[in-house]
């Protein structure tokens, strides 16, 4: 598969994915790599039901996904890979899914989290986790929909007042 977008989105498959990213990338496959969804028949069915039938949907646990697919292969279907949160993306990366770019789409505010954009609230720990990926050579950007101006990792740090 040709990995065209790796995204962190706590809503997983939703309007922005189906109406904005899918046509922008012209992707024909969506992967949801998530342990909770993979073991939840209902949520899995809902995701498969809402995606147009000409788009392939793969719902896997993070481990299953990270160890079962060949990522070196640049051919094949253009694919969007979705993770629920930063930890899940890092887990996949550590298990062998070496993505080059990471898009941060939706991360919602809980305690200690600071405003980055309307859809993204991060805490210091999140930034540290992302730093690990940046240090490993991953290009991190914050961008909700394709038409938005992307924010790079340094801008994100500034937004939450880290030097």
């Amino acid at each position: 598969m040709d990995i065209s977008l790796v995204r962190i989105d706590d809503r997983l498959v939703h309007g922005q994915i189906l109406e904005a990213w899918l046509p922008f990338i012209k992707a024909s496959c969506i992967v949801v790599a998530d342990d909770d969804v993979a073991s939840d028949f209902f949520r899995k069915s809902v995701i498969k039901m809402v995606v147009p039938s000409d788009i392939e949907v793969i719902v896997n646990s993070i481990e299953e996904f990270s160890t079962n697919y060949s990522y070196d292969e640049k051919e094949g279907k253009k694919t969007i890979v979705l993770f629920h949160d930063i930890c899940n993306a890092i887990k996949a990366y550590s298990l062998g899914f070496k993505f080059e770019k990471l898009n941060i789409g939706h991360v919602q505010s809980e305690e200690d989290r600071k405003y980055c954009s309307p859809a993204v609230h991060l805490c210091k720990k999140d930034i540290e986790k992302l730093q690990f990926l940046v240090d490993s050579g991953v290009e991190v950007e914050l961008r909700c929909v394709p038409r938005d101006k992307p924010l790079n990792f340094r801008d994100m740090r500034k937004k939450i007042m880290l030097p």
Binding site: R11, H14, L18, E19, R43, S109, P118
Partner: protein, 136 residues
């Protein structure tokens, strides 16, 4: 009377209710919930749960959402319960205007009716004109 909840991206639901009330007068037992990027999924689920309670008068609840596959619709689907709660997507103004006229139907009939009614009320003007001319 079936309770109605309109869950949409942004304030679309509130605006639809306002527009409908402008045309048809006050609507009872209809509430709107706005889904925007600043609200978390759990927060929204709580808001939906409490709104379902508010509009439910014992005859079930119909949730109208804007876009199948969008967050408002995905969240609503997790409340789906045949005979008690139904979800129709693609909400439009004609649907809202029809609500008060048919709310004494049972939930399943009501949901089917509103879905079909919303569909029937999308028209292409020139198509209608051409049909009228050609049948004359």
């Amino acid at each position: 009377m079936v309770g109605v909840l309109i869950i949409t991206h942004g304030n679309l639901g509130c605006e639809l209710i306002q527009a409908a009330e402008l045309i048809k007068g006050r609507m009872n037992g209809v509430l709107a919930i706005s889904v925007d990027p600043t609200k978390g999924v759990e927060e929204l689920k709580k808001e939906i749960t409490s709104s379902i309670k508010k509009v439910n008068m014992g005859k079930g609840v119909l949730i109208l959402t804007d876009l199948f596959g969008g967050t408002p619709s995905n969240l609503s689907l997790s409340f789906l319960k045949e005979g008690k709660l139904e979800v129709v997507s693609g909400v439009n103004l004609p649907m809202l205007l029809k609500l008060p006229d048919v709310r004494e139907k049972n939930l399943t009939e009501f949901a089917y009716f509103i879905k079909d009614y919303g569909r029937r009320n999308i028209s292409l003007a020139s198509e209608i004109l051409n049909k009228k001319v050609s049948t004359k």
